[in-house]
Symmetry: none
Subunit: 201 residues, 4 copies
Amino acid sequence: MEQPVDHRRGPRRRGEVLFNAIVEATLAELAEVGYAGLTMDGVAQRARTSKASLYRRWPTRQDLVAAAIQHTARTTEPIPDTGGLRTDLLAALDLVVQRLTSPVGEAVRGILTDTLRDPELTRELRESMVSGRNRLLTQVLRQAAERGEIRAETITPRVAAAGPALVLHHFLTQGPPMPVELRAQIVDEVLLPLAGLPRVQ
Amino acid sequence: MEQPVDHRRGPRRRGEVLFNAIVEATLAELAEVGYAGLTMDGVAQRARTSKASLYRRWPTRQDLVAAAIQHTARTTEPIPDTGGLRTDLLAALDLVVQRLTSPVGEAVRGILTDTLRDPELTRELRESMVSGRNRLLTQVLRQAAERGEIRAETITPRVAAAGPALVLHHFLTQGPPMPVELRAQIVDEVLLPLAGLPRVQ
Amino acid sequence: MEQPVDHRRGPRRRGEVLFNAIVEATLAELAEVGYAGLTMDGVAQRARTSKASLYRRWPTRQDLVAAAIQHTARTTEPIPDTGGLRTDLLAALDLVVQRLTSPVGEAVRGILTDTLRDPELTRELRESMVSGRNRLLTQVLRQAAERGEIRAETITPRVAAAGPALVLHHFLTQGPPMPVELRAQIVDEVLLPLAGLPRVQ
Amino acid sequence: MEQPVDHRRGPRRRGEVLFNAIVEATLAELAEVGYAGLTMDGVAQRARTSKASLYRRWPTRQDLVAAAIQHTARTTEPIPDTGGLRTDLLAALDLVVQRLTSPVGEAVRGILTDTLRDPELTRELRESMVSGRNRLLTQVLRQAAERGEIRAETITPRVAAAGPALVLHHFLTQGPPMPVELRAQIVDEVLLPLAGLPRVQ
DNA sequence: CCTTAATCGAGACGGTACGTCGTGTCTTTAT
DNA sequence: ATAAAGACACGACGTACCGTCTCGATTAAGG
């Protein structure tokens, strides 16, 4: 793809530059071979660095992938505000779907199981994965409450988590792609009723 | 655990006997080292058989684990029937939690990511994992409809899937153990409202 | 050099065949990159086998090289018998020089230092390196005694070792090649006088 | 051993002071882990300096060890002069043995093989290793010639080299320690006869 | 005395080899 | 024919060391 540059002599990448190069190589590997096929060797080779530089930053493969996930999580998506709760929810779920369909999604799905034995890492990842989605959904519901569409008491963490949880559940059990009508079903049969609105058929 | 019997000479197992021995060894390994730590070598050694005998039956590690999962799925749990929907739902979710906490749960969680790239295996596993739970929840809801507690129209596949999906979601993002009050929250804040019943505070 | 044959499937070498292939690859590597440049990876690659197959037989690099040395030591050279002690000694030293100049010599010189910390291996190697040469020299001297050239009492282990020791000493301190006149000097100035014969100028 | 002094800030060594610190650290490492276990990292760490400071002075590990050897070679031992050739020779060989038993000996034995591919370094080392010993033996023999014990014609470079060569040969093939009776055998069976004296039994 | 250049210390970097482990295939021997 | 055992070829693991580099700190020397 690129000409082989020997970074041993000459401009040697360090610090943040190298960090970013590795993270991007990780995402590229995830897209190409998936989470299960990801190897430290492969990432190092693609990033034109050494395994030592990887292990100096991340003790395990999971930590590396977690860093890649968090790296992409920085770019905060704008909260959907279409003027109606239903379309807002559809747009919000679409953001979740898009994220799960990207290389990051591959990583998210892959790491969910590997890390369960490491509570520390689990908690760390939850922050960048779950809470972001929860904030998204909660905000959408609050906008609807301010508009008078729903009552504020219906907004609970459990309700906010339901939408993304169902989307993730579909991805884990059925895999991509996610049919569009399914997204509508989740909104109409679950989320809107939970918000206290009459069901749409 | 058992006395070491050299199956090279003497009573050599084959057919179903050997099949079961391997499956049970797989479950034992899952309980001991988890899905990530499971190896074909380890299973073969624990089952006192050879890797060839494993690969003759299951081409991949995932197939082996899938077989172990399906093996335990045979024992059909009785549908909870306590006389009320709320307690039925709590009991049903408890069954799901129990399953996820067992060695099988370790396998289920582990295999979810590995298999996404193999649609064939994904579909196969879905049958033994998801549909079982869906049938459980759907049955509980039907009992309530027959009792007149809820209206039959509220029962949709999406609603039936919501409970187990939220439980699984918690396991994947928070890990065990599952607090009991969380189960109650799922029932009271999500499932009962979805069934058309007023929320319990 | 040769077409890459994937030995994973197809005729897979085992036992003695594989053993010999590895030993010969080791000698080839010694000839090409020397003892210091010898790597297990390199040998495995040249022999088209795996590192595991190497380590299964020889726990250390030294053991592998030792095996290569001993493998070539099997071919017993005939004892020189030219009819005169002086020419016999010259021929005997020539054999020593030839051995030290060959790939085996590279190995012998290289392993001498690495193994000193392992008394077990040291003793083992001594047998195939030193004793062979001692036997050679002792035999040559005995032939001379039988011919009446020298007295039998002059033959001691110390005297028999002197010749090869001086040759090795030159190799270690000066390196190859070994000038022919030097061999003559060793014979005329050291070995013959030690055997009780008048010095030749 | 010593209190950890951070030389980054505070009294920073350079020039000869640093040179000596590194050489001494090299000798200490040789004594502790041997030549094979010697690493540039280890020496730098022990000397509390950086690898760059090492490589600025010595391009290779061999050069570093060679410098350490030569550093200790400065202290010229007095030539033995006991009044008799035999005791002088025993004392001279004892000096050789002592040198080979010290950390320097470990270095000498180790470097003999590594450097054979670098003729330049080989020649350089020969000066500090071999010629010193040769001068020692030659001087002892000359003293005996002046005393009338032996004839001057028997003194040749080859004869002078024989003693140390046999001692080194034993160290390389048998390893330490060197039995005292062996030293006597070398003197009585080899060196004295070579000097033209009757053999001692 | 102050600047300036050289040197030092620490350690990151790209790379290679280490010795181990697991994979999936195969050969061998025994039932 | 199939079972048990394990050798085999391969590749990834995580570590150690190599020799090079960057960086800031600290000296010594000259103006």
